[in-house]
Amino acid sequence: MDAWLSWLICGRSRKSSYALLAPAVLWLALFLIIPVACLLELGFLRLGPYGTVVFSLTLSNFSRAIEPRYLEILLRTLGYAGITTLLCLALGFPAAYYLSFRAGRRRELCLAALMIPFWTSCLVALYSWMIILGREGLLNSLLLRSGLIAHPLRLLNTPFSVVLGLAYFYIPFMVLPLYGSLEKLPRQYLEASYDLGAGRARTFFKVTLPLCLPGVVAGCILTFIPCMGDFLTAEFLGGPRTYLVGNLIQNQFLMAQDWPFGAALTSVLLILLVAGLYFYQRVEPQR
């Protein structure tokens, strides 16, 4: 056993590298590559009676998926995901900064407070938001009672409630990478900057921010991508005007029983996201 482990770890033989890679490759092939290939294939097939699939090739699902009315939904989703990402950044950066520089002994507690909502079932969270935001919900009752408003505000089933819900779910994806990159930032650099006469603001913009930029980018990508595919938030907290591409896809699979079209829509979304990431990697200056 010991001999085998040291063979595996020391890595003189090419075979040991393969052995290290094998589980991950197998996993990816079984649970990513094969399913995505099936999905792509499904997008080229025809719809049969009662939602069955007929094995005859067609491009019609893809040409339908890029019709303007569906592109409009895609653009709307980009907008929601973008706004949510910006909101998460605006809320998450100060939080991450506090966690890294100020929290001290309270850090563990703060991190737990950040993660606990994330660990609760999203359905429970969505129902709770419905209770909070409803016309006779907690928030409206509080505002009415305090006399700040005379009539209940319309909060639920609006773009506001959808962005709020998305930001609520995905903010840990923003804060954690930011926190990680701020933690890695050597504190001597900041001291050096002060020693050389830079003020707090200048140090922040010239040293702290550029050095944690990879964390900003990672946080934005990690927030943006799941937002693009989210459908539960819009389903529960949204209305007809906040119909997102995730809802459209879910609708094809579960309600309209049109799996080939749903697969084509999913493929288009996947291709756009992968292309976006690839393009970003190309233009990003080498660090």
């Binding site: 939602g51 409803g134 699979f253 579960l254 309600m255 029983q257």
Partner: protein, 355 residues
């Protein structure tokens, strides 16, 4: 001032979510051929009496896994995609031809149900199951309008009231092609077998309503009525009458153009490995006391004639649950549509949602 509170229904929803995870594991566990006797029942959420299943288990020792769905198209998609482990499910009248067409259900063995005679003959030899082979009617109801009397000057008379711009942002519509498209056709005076031009008009009508609609929803619209987030909701009789029980200002009406009467049926899922115990459960559900208990709890009408005298008087005499002869004339069954029409309706509905 309204008190913010967790309504019973919201509490139930929360606890259902909490209970769902272990239930899913249980379903897995009993699939692996354990000795325990069990029936896996795939039904609408909260579509049964509070002690219906525990009484069955106490009497027979057979455990029932009650798995819930909140959308029957999604349920159909799940069974169609080859989900295993379900023994008994619920299928609406208009879905039966689809289940049969894809060989997803088995006929009931003749003579297997002692209590089948309890069913009102009105619900036997139906257009969707002329031989009474595949279905045992479970509950029935109507599609209509739930509304808040406190904020509406008068009860809605017509489906057109759901198109009234005064109620912009206060209207909820069911989220399924079957109810919405057939209602739009009804308003236009067309049958469900409408041609393409008529369907196009129905689509225009539904699209014209879209700016007024707060939500397309089939599972939580009762909560929205209770919380006052919507004042008018297209919905199913029992759902809305359950909401009325919580909030007395709510009421239910069937518009003058008429509406649809639908029947939810018990169906035997093909490939079930617990057939004998499943039939025993169905027979138990057909007992008058059981059927009455279920109807009392969920406020839908029972097709079980023998259960009628046992029903809560308030339920039995409620014309919103059991419409009188005058209203019954305006109610009709959904027709069985061919696969191409079903697809056209689904696409139409998808287009309305897209806007």
């Amino acid at each position: 001032m309204p008190e913010p509170k967790l309504t019973r229904r919201q509490f139930l929803a929360l606890s259902a979510v909490a209970a769902a995870a272990p239930a899913a594991f249980a379903l897995q566990a009993c699939d692996s051929g354990s000795e325990e006797r069990v029936v896996n029942f795939f039904n609408w959420s909260k579509y049964i009496g509070p002690d219906t299943l525990s009484r069955f288990t106490r009497r027979t020792g057979i455990r029932v896994n009650y798995e819930e769905f909140s959308d029957e198209e999604a349920m159909f998609a799940k069974l169609r995609s080859g989900a295993r482990g379900y023994d008994l499910a619920i299928g609406a009248d208009y879905m039966i031809s689809r289940f049969k067409g894809l060989n997803l259900i088995d006929p009931f063995p003749s003579g297997a149900l002692r209590n089948i005679g309890n069913i009102d003959p009105r619900f036997r030899k139906t257009p969707y199951d002329p031989q009474d082979a595949y279905t045992v009617p479970y509950l029935w109801g109507t599609t209509g309008i739930g509304f808040n009397r406190q904020f509406l000057p008068r009860a809605p008379q017509s489906w057109r009231d759901l198109w009234d711009p005064r109620y912009q942002g206060k209207i909820s519509m069911l989220d399924n092609s079957r109810d919405c498209v057939s209602t739009a056709l009804l308003m236009l005076g067309y049958p469900e077998t409408a041609d393409d031009a008529q369907l196009e008009q129905a689509k225009k009508l539904l699209l014209s309503q879209r700016p007024l609609v707060k939500q397309y929803n089939s599972s939580t619209y009762m909560d929205s009525l209770i919380t006052g987030d919507v004042l008018l909701a297209m919905g199913w009789s029992g759902d809305i009458l359950q909401a009325c029980r919580e909030k007395p200002q709510l009421d239910y009406a069937i518009p003058r153009e008429g509406s649809y009467l639908w029947v939810d049926n018990l169906i035997l899922v093909r490939g079930s490995r617990h057939r004998a115990d499943t039939l025993r459960l169905v027979d138990y559900l057909l007992e008058p006391e059981t059927a009455a208990g279920i109807a009392d709890a969920v406020r839908y009408a029972t097709p079980n004639r023998a259960a009628m005298p046992l029903l809560d008087k308030s339920l039995r005499e409620d014309p919103r649950v059991f419409p009188g002869p005058e209203l019954s004339k305006r109610l009709r069954f959904h027709q069985q549509l061919d696969p191409a029409t079903v697809q056209a309706w689904n696409e139409l509905w998808s287009d309305v949602k897209v806007g």
